[in-house]
C-alpha cells in the first residue's frame, strides 16, 4: 500500500488539496482540524490536571490528619468512589446523568463536564499519592513541627507538604501523562479532541493509517514534553542532601 500524506492538505468540505496545507478564509484543512484537536486535548488535560492537583492535594492531606477518623474516612470514601468506576462511565455520568438530575448543569458545555469528570477521576489518584508521600515521611517530622509550637496547619504548610510533594514528583509525572492519555476518552461525548478527530477523519478520508500515525505521534510528543517538563521541575525543586528512597529515575 502507498502513503498519501496529501490527505492532511485537503479541505474538509470539498476535499480539494489546498496550497500550503493551511486553509484560508475560514476554510479548514485536515491539518488545521488536527492541530485544533490537539489544542482541545491539551486544554482538557491541563484544566483537568489543575483541578485534580488542587482537589487531590486537599483530600490527600485530609486523609493523613491524626485524631480525625471521620474526615479520614470521608477522604478514603472519595478515593474509593472515583477509583472503582471506569472513567468512561464517569464521563457518561457527568455528561448524561448529572445534568438531568440537576437542571443547573444543563447549560454547561460538554467540554467543561469532561474536565470535571477527568479532574475528579484523577483527583482520587493524586490524593492517594499525596497521602503516601506524607506517610513516607518519618513520624518525627510531624512531632518536631508540633514541638516547635506550630499549629497543625503550619506543620503541614512548612514541614510536611514541602517534603511530601518533592517525594511524589515521579508518580505525579506518570499521573500527568495519564491525564493526557485519559483525555482521549472524551471522544465518547463528542469533545473535538485528537481521538475524536482520528475517528472522524478516518471515516471521511479512509486514510486511517496516515491519520492514526499523525495522531499517535502527537500523543507521544505530548507525553515526552510532559516528561521533560516534570524532570525539569524535579531538578529545580531538589534540595541538596535530601535523598528520597525509591524516587530516583524517570517518571514512568
Amino acid at each position: 500500500m502507498s502513503w498519501d500524506w496529501q490527505v492532511f492538505c485537503q479541505d474538509t468540505m470539498d476535499r480539494e488539496v489546498v496550497q500550503g496545507c493551511f486553509g484560508k478564509g475560514g476554510d479548514i484543512t485536515y491539518l488545521d482540524w488536527m492541530l485544533s484537536a490537539w489544542g482541545w486535548t491539551v486544554s482538557v488535560s491541563l484544566l483537568a490536571l489543575l483541578l485534580a492537583l488542587v482537589l487531590g492535594s486537599f483530600i490527600g492531606t485530609l486523609r493523613t490528619l491524626q485524631d480525625r477518623p471521620m474526615i479520614v474516612r470521608l477522604g478514603n470514601a472519595w478515593v474509593e468512589l472515583f477509583r472503582n468506576i471506569p472513567l468512561l462511565v464517569q464521563i457518561f455520568l457527568w455528561y448524561h446523568v448529572l445534568p438531568s438530575l440537576f437542571p443547573v448543569l444543563r447549560g454547561v458545555p460538554g467540554f467543561a463536564l469532561v474536565v470535571l469528570a477527568l479532574g475528579f477521576f484523577t483527583s482520587a489518584r493524586i490524593a492517594e499519592q499525596v497521602r503516601s508521600g506524607i506517610q513516607a515521611l518519618p513520624r518525627g517530622q510531624r512531632y518536631a513541627g508540633l514541638a516547635m509550637g506550630f499549629t497543625t496547619f503550619q506543620t503541614y504548610r512548612y514541614v510536611l507538604l514541602p517534603m511530601a510533594f518533592r517525594i511524589i514528583i515521579p508518580p505525579l509525572t506518570s499521573e500527568t501523562m495519564n491525564i493526557f492519555k485519559n483525555s482521549s476518552v472524551a471522544f465518547a461525548v463528542s469533545v473535538a479532541e485528537l481521538t475524536m478527530f482520528a475517528m472522524q477523519a478516518q471515516e471521511e478520508t479512509s486514510r486511517g493509517i496516515e491519520v492514526y500515525l499523525a495522531v499517535t505521534t502527537l500523543y507521544i510528543i505530548s507525553a515526552f514534553a510532559i516528561n521533560r517538563i516534570m524532570a525539569f521541575i524535579e531538578k529545580r525543586a531538589r534540595i541538596p542532601g535530601m535523598v528520597v528512597s525509591g524516587a530516583a529515575g524517570g517518571g514512568h
Binding site: 474509593e80 472503582n84 468506576i85 462511565v89 492519555k181 465518547a188 493509517i209 492514526y212 507521544i220
Partner: protein
C-alpha cells in the same frame, strides 16, 4: 426528574446486561492470561542483558505505555483486518488489542517484581550450587511472585475497568448492554447509573479482596 428503576427485571438483565457482562469478564480473563504470558516474555527479554532482545522489548513496552488505550484499540481495529486480509468482529479485535496492550503493563510489573529480589538472594543460590533455572524456580520467582501478585491483581481490576473502552469500536460489553437496555426502554439515565453502581460494587469488592490477600501473603522484612 424522577428516577424509575422498576423497568429492571430479570428478563431485561438476562437479555441485555448478562451478555455484555459475560463478554467483559471473558475479555478480562483472556487478556490477563495472554497479557501475563506475553508480558513474561517481554520482561525476560528486557532482563536478558542481550541488546538485540532488550531494545525491541523496551521500544514495544514504552511505545504501548505512551499511547492512549483508545488509540490502540482503534489501531488494531484498523490494522488487524488489513493484515490478515479479512474483516474480524469488534470482539475479536478487542481481545487481540487487550492482550497486546496489557502485556506492556504486565511486563513492567514482572520486571519490577524480579528486580525487587535482593542480589544477595541470587548469590546465595549460586553459592549453594544451584543452576540458573533452579535458582529462578526455587529462590527468585517464589519471592518475586509474592511481591507482585497484589500489583498483578490490581492491574487486572484496572483492566476490567478499561474493557469499557471497547465502546470506541462498538463491541458489546457490560456498559454497552446497559446502554442498549436504557435506550430500548427510554431510561438511559437509570441505565448509566445502574452500570456505575455495578462496576463500583465489582471493582470495590475485588480491590478489597486484593488488599486482604496482600496483608496475608506480604513478606515481612
Amino acid at each position: 426528574m424522577n428516577l424509575d428503576f422498576s423497568f429492571y427485571n430479570w428478563d431485561l438483565i438476562s437479555n441485555f446486561v448478562l451478555k455484555g457482562l459475560y463478554f467483559s469478564l471473558i475479555l478480562t480473563l483472556v487478556a490477563t492470561i495472554g497479557g501475563v504470558l506475553f508480558g513474561t516474555v517481554l520482561a525476560l527479554m528486557r532482563l536478558s542483558g542481550k541488546k538485540w532482545l532488550d531494545v525491541p522489548a523496551t521500544i514495544y513496552v514504552n511505545g504501548m505505555r505512551s499511547i492512549p488505550l483508545v488509540m490502540v484499540i482503534l489501531w488494531f481495529f484498523l490494522l488487524v483486518p488489513a493484515i490478515i486480509g479479512r474483516p474480524i468482529g469488534a470482539e475479536v479485535s478487542a481481545v487481540v488489542t487487550f492482550i497486546a496492550f496489557e502485556a506492556a503493563y504486565f511486563s513492567e510489573i514482572m520486571r519490577a517484581g524480579i528486580q525487587s529480589i535482593p542480589r544477595g538472594q541470587v548469590y546465595a543460590g549460586q553459592a549453594l550450587g544451584m543452576t540458573y533455572s533452579q535458582n529462578m524456580k526455587l529462590v527468585v520467582l517464589p519471592q518475586a511472585f509474592r511481591n507482585m501478585l497484589p500489583v498483578l491483581l490490581t492491574q487486572t481490576i484496572i483492566l476490567f475497568q478499561d474493557t469499557s473502552l471497547v465502546y470506541a469500536i462498538g463491541a458489546y460489553d457490560m456498559l454497552k448492554g446497559f446502554e442498549v437496555a436504557g435506550k430500548n426502554f427510554g431510561r438511559p439515565i437509570e441505565a448509566y447509573l445502574a452500570a456505575a453502581v455495578l462496576y463500583f460494587i465489582m471493582c470495590y469488592a475485588l480491590s478489597w479482596a486484593v488488599k486482604r490477600l496482600h496483608q496475608k501473603i506480604a513478606i515481612i522484612r
